[in-house]
């Protein structure tokens, strides 16, 4: 039992959780504050993951130049998606982002791209430069039921520093006059235009900044693991939206707590169900079905949330988006 609990609690601070939180903060800016429907946050994460890992593996760049390549690629991606769509109705961005994410995933996973992207196998072992910066002495660090090595701890620490950095950045931005324009655009872009603001430019800025958050999330996501093309499908975007709505779309903290709850709950339900199956208390499920059933439970939880607390956990009831 301690193990199950310890496992669930560890998901509160895993680098993966941090990565999802950061990606969700990106769409909080897009959707919660600007009203942009980005249904392709997975593509910005993939740009981060592949931009970084290809730079290291294929071009032999160091850690920081590789991050720089990912950043430039992310900005280019935002322009590519934004230029044709941001002058149009909001649904066009939704369609284009969702399609771009899928196209990107197909391209990187083709076998002909294998020498560069690793094709369907993806990429691994590009994190040496990252761990070389680790000041934590080599060893095993045990707390309660957990056992981390120096690299685990380093990845956790860096991930959350990056998340907190971007969370503070966004909090400052949305409280500034820039944020006021952004929120005005969310409410009614023609009104904002009539007050002399270049709405198209602001939407582009929002897309770029939120996309960059997705890209950094993508890098955090793969630093301790590997790059798998299958991870960047529509389900990734869907989970991030789930996290966003769970915490509250127009909040910053909501994305962080949303990611924590999402991953801990997944871990907890999964572990509890599979223990139940193992010791015979749950007879109507097989071990194979546990993986799927826990996502069903999360889906049900999200539906209940949208019904009973549509503004999310941290959202202000007055700033509500399911009011259509």
């Amino acid at each position: 039992m301690d193990l199950i609990l310890g496992n669930a609690i560890s998901w509160l601070f895993q680098p993966i959780t941090a990565a999802y939180a950061l990606a969700a903060i990106g769409i909080a800016l897009h959707f919660g504050f600007t009203g942009l429907l980005n249904f392709g946050q997975a593509v910005f994460m993939a740009v981060g993951a592949y931009g970084f890992s290809i730079s290291v593996k294929f071009f032999g760049l160091g850690f920081w130049p590789a991050v720089g390549v990912a950043v430039i690629a992310s900005i280019a991606m935002a322009f590519l998606l934004g230029i044709p769509t941001l002058r149009l109705r909001s649904d066009y961005l939704a369609i284009v982002t969702i399609a771009a994410a899928e196209v990107f995933r197909f391209i990187v996973s083709t076998t002909s791209a294998q020498p560069v992207t690793g094709g369907p196998q993806g990429l691994n072992q590009y994190s040496d430069g990252f761990y070389a910066m680790n000041p934590i002495p080599v060893g095993h660090y045990k707390f309660w039921v957990w056992d981390f090595n120096q690299d685990d701890l380093f990845a956790i620490a860096v991930s959350w520093v990056v998340v907190v950095f971007f969370a503070i950045l966004l909090a400052i931005l949305i409280r500034s006059p820039w944020g006021r324009v952004i929120k005005g655009i969310r409410e009614d872009e023609d009104a904002v235009r009539s007050l002399g603001k270049n709405v198209y430019s602001y939407k582009m800025q929002s897309l770029v900044v939120g996309g960059l958050m997705g890209t950094f999330a993508g890098i955090l996501f793969v630093l301790p693991t590997s790059v798998q093309p299958g991870n960047y499908g529509t389900t990734l975007t869907f989970y991030i939206w789930t996290i966003l709505l769970l915490g509250g779309a127009s909040t910053v903290i909501g994305s962080i707590v949303g990611a924590m709850i999402f991953w801990s709950l997944l871990s907890l339900t999964g572990d509890l169900l599979s223990t139940g199956v193992d010791n015979g208390t749950i007879t109507f499920l097989t071990q194979n079905q546990v993986g799927a059933i826990r996502f069903i439970l999360v889906g049900v939880a999200l539906m209940l949330l949208v019904i009973f607390r549509p503004q999310g956990i941290f959202g202000n009831k007055k700033e509500l988006y399911f009011n259509a």
Partner: protein, 282 residues
Amino acid sequence: MPSQIAIGAAVPGCAKVDPILIADNVRRQFGGNVAVDVEHVEIPRGLITALIGPNGAGKTTFFNLLTGFDQPNSGDWTFDGVKLAGVPAFKVARMGMVRTFQLTKSLNMITVMENMRLGAQRQPGESLLRALIKPLWKRNEEEITARAAELLTRFKLDTKSDDFAASLSGGQRKLLEMARALMTQPRLVMLDEPMAGVNPALTQSLLEHIRGLKNEGMTVLFVEHDMHMVRNISDWVIVMAEGKIVAEGPPNEVMKNPAVIDAYLGAHHDTDLGTDKQAKGN
């Protein structure tokens, strides 16, 4: 009086002594329907001009075209001598030509005060990078807030300052939209049915506000169905029907013009131009 505004007789499209806005051959078609077809019109500077006409006459569409919210099939117009055709809406507003909307566009999920601040121009904190450094825009923000508070008081919205705009009544939203437009410090204010939905108790003070704008040197062009308001505050009246300018003149003379009576009777027989009855518009 008319001799001081128009050059020569007050005929449709007549030249003005001191025009601020001049439009030529502005035409907008929706499919086969010609919504606006204005051969020539001039708006006199520093005065209050009413644009009237039956529903569907093309008044709102004309506003949209002039302010860059819609593109005409053809036409040219200048504001203070600057050509505006093809200029995007936000640049038109920056030049000092600001408009309100017939269907109020209050920004509901932000506060009344933030709505007002959004109207301010040249706030350096609206740039992405400078937004991060508060000292670069704090003083501007204080100046903007003071100006906004003053306008809110004038429009009797000061007690609502920290409420979400969504909590205002329809009439209060109209007032907020107008006050917010004034935050841009415009030279020409274009109001699309400013009185529609405003509590009758407020209409008198709204009239005073509009007169006040003129006293501050602004030019006002407004669309209105309330003939009482038109006669009360306008210096000049321009009448549109079926996309064209059909009459112009000082308020009392225009109301007697057969072309105007025709235009109105053609659309709704129940509108009595002589009384203060309000025609419902959309």
